[in-house]
């Protein structure tokens, strides 16, 4: 039987660039689009390099079963799911432990942004489908979810933008790729509401020194600013075509 001896590759090359040719503070190319699904109240697709996530938002609508509804606000239900064809090997379509946890993390990040008090006794359902996975799916899912919620006309405090920072071969890198995610020393996804400068999601895998942590936050906010600008452009370009509303 063939056994593959997989060794840690060099993550930062001699010229200071990364395995995919990016500079350490460079993000992958990003594409965003809103309002792509007819049957959902709001929808968005976000692509970041090879990662693609499609999100549909339904609601605010009546909560079923009704006893789970809350008298003072809307209930957010989020499903993060990876399609069977999103990874190299086929992924079992049932929700894994990891997907359930990421759903919860995304839900909590979204709850901080959505003004759920406006819609008591209802529910807002968010479905994120990872079409293609290549590191950073939770943040791409979160960004597409925030765009889809805005597209659904649901009031929210701010859009959410997020990016991962990590450490590869001792260097701080922005927007990790698959190899850096696997072999790097740290991986920290951060999501923020940039206008309010609030953090809605922060996780850390691996370890940073306090100085590195501060530098990582700095680096992330730089990337987030860029993403936020793009999100705003996406929404305005879609709606600037709308003339008047009743």
């Amino acid at each position: 039987m063939l056994t593959l001896q997989v060794q840690k590759p060099k993550l930062i090359l001699e010229d200071g660039r990364r395995t995919d040719g990016r500079r350490p503070d460079e993000m992958r190319p990003i594409k965003m689009e809103v309002g792509i699904l007819k049957n959902a109240n709001g929808s968005a697709i976000v692509e970041m390099g090879k990662t693609k996530v499609l999100t549909a938002v339904y609601g605010p609508r009546e909560m079923h079963p009704r006893h789970l509804a809350l008298p003072d606000r809307a209930v957010m239900r989020v499903r993060y799911h990876m399609t069977p064809f999103s990874t190299d090997d086929r992924k079992n379509p049932s929700l894994s432990r990891r997907e359930i946890e990421i759903s919860k993390v995304i839900r909590e990040a979204l709850e901080a942004a959505v003004l759920a008090e406006t819609f008591p006794r209802t529910t807002i359902d968010v479905f994120s489908e990872v079409l293609q996975a290549d590191a950073g799916t939770r943040l791409v899912a979160l960004m597409s979810a925030s765009l889809a919620v805005a597209d659904a006309g649901i009031p929210m405090r701010d859009l959410i933008a997020g990016v991962a920072v990590g450490k590869a071969d001792g260097t701080l890198v922005l927007d990790l790729n698959e190899e850096e995610d696997m072999w790097g020393e740290a991986d920290m996804p951060i999501a923020m509401m940039p206008s309010l400068s609030q953090v809605t999601l922060l996780q850390l895998n691996g370890n940073f020194t306090p100085e590195e942590f501060r530098a990582a936050i700095q680096l992330a906010s730089k990337g987030i600013e860029e993403l936020y600008k793009l999100q705003k452009e996406t929404l305005t370009s879609k709606y600037s075509a709308y003339k008047e509303v009743n």
Binding site: N39, N41, G42, Y58, G59, P60, R61, E62, A69, A113, L115, T118, F119, P120, R121, T122, A150, D151, A152, G153, I154, P155, M156, R157, D158, L159, M193, P194, S195, L196, K232, L235, T236, Y239, S240, Y242, V245
Partner: protein, 193 residues
């Protein structure tokens, strides 16, 4: 300071609009620590008379539609002694992706006192109603000429009922006569019947 130029601007969630002393937060906005921000994607409307700032969203969500709805279309799913449960499938021009539930109480059928709600509606009827509030389940009323049953089915054989007078309908298949609170609203198209 709000200038004339800010009126009608396209804003996004999180866009700063004004301080709370200048303008109170209106529709599609929220306030945080004395500052008013936009909550939805839309155009700004600074109401100079009421000193309120609103953001008029490009897309209406269902709760806004229900709040503004003048009429609703629903199907009766069950009837009690004095209550009927309604599945609301549409509001004015909007068809919902999933129905909202509503309740119709016998006191909301007409000005007269009604002994039983089955004298006004029965299971399977399609009704036109008005919401009394936008809290789910929606309390409904069919008081008024334009509100009431649009399509009725026979409780004996399920056939389509035809109107005989203002309060009675007759089954086109078996001839059964029943009571209904009928709507004068007919869905007549421009050239159709």
């Amino acid at each position: 300071m709000v200038t004339q130029l800010d009126q009608g601007n396209i804003v996004l969630p999180g866009t700063y609009l004004s301080t709370i002393e200048e303008f109170m937060p209106g529709d599609g906005t929220y306030d945080k620590q004395g500052l008013v921000y936009a909550g939805v994607v839309g155009r700004t409307f600074y109401d100079m008379i009421n000193r309120k700032v609103n953001v008029i969203g490009f897309k209406k969500n269902y709760m806004q539609t229900l709040k503004k709805a003048k009429s609703l279309i629903g199907v009766i799913t069950s009837v009690d002694e004095d209550m009927a449960q309604v599945y609301i499938i549409a509001a004015d021009e909007t068809r919902f992706l999933r129905p909202f539930s509503g309740v119709l109480h016998s006191s909301q059928v007409s000005q007269k006192r009604l002994e039983q709600i089955t004298l006004a509606v029965r299971i399977g009827d399609i009704i036109r109603a008005r919401p009394l509030s936008a809290a789910v389940p929606l309390p409904l009323t069919i008081k008024g000429k334009e509100f009431g049953v649009l399509v009725a089915h026979c409780s004996q054989c399920g056939g389509i009922m035809k109107k005989i007078d203002d309060e009675h309908v007759k089954c086109s298949r078996c001839g059964q006569v029943e009571n209904r609170k009928l709507s004068n609203f007919t869905m007549v198209k421009k050239h159709g019947s």
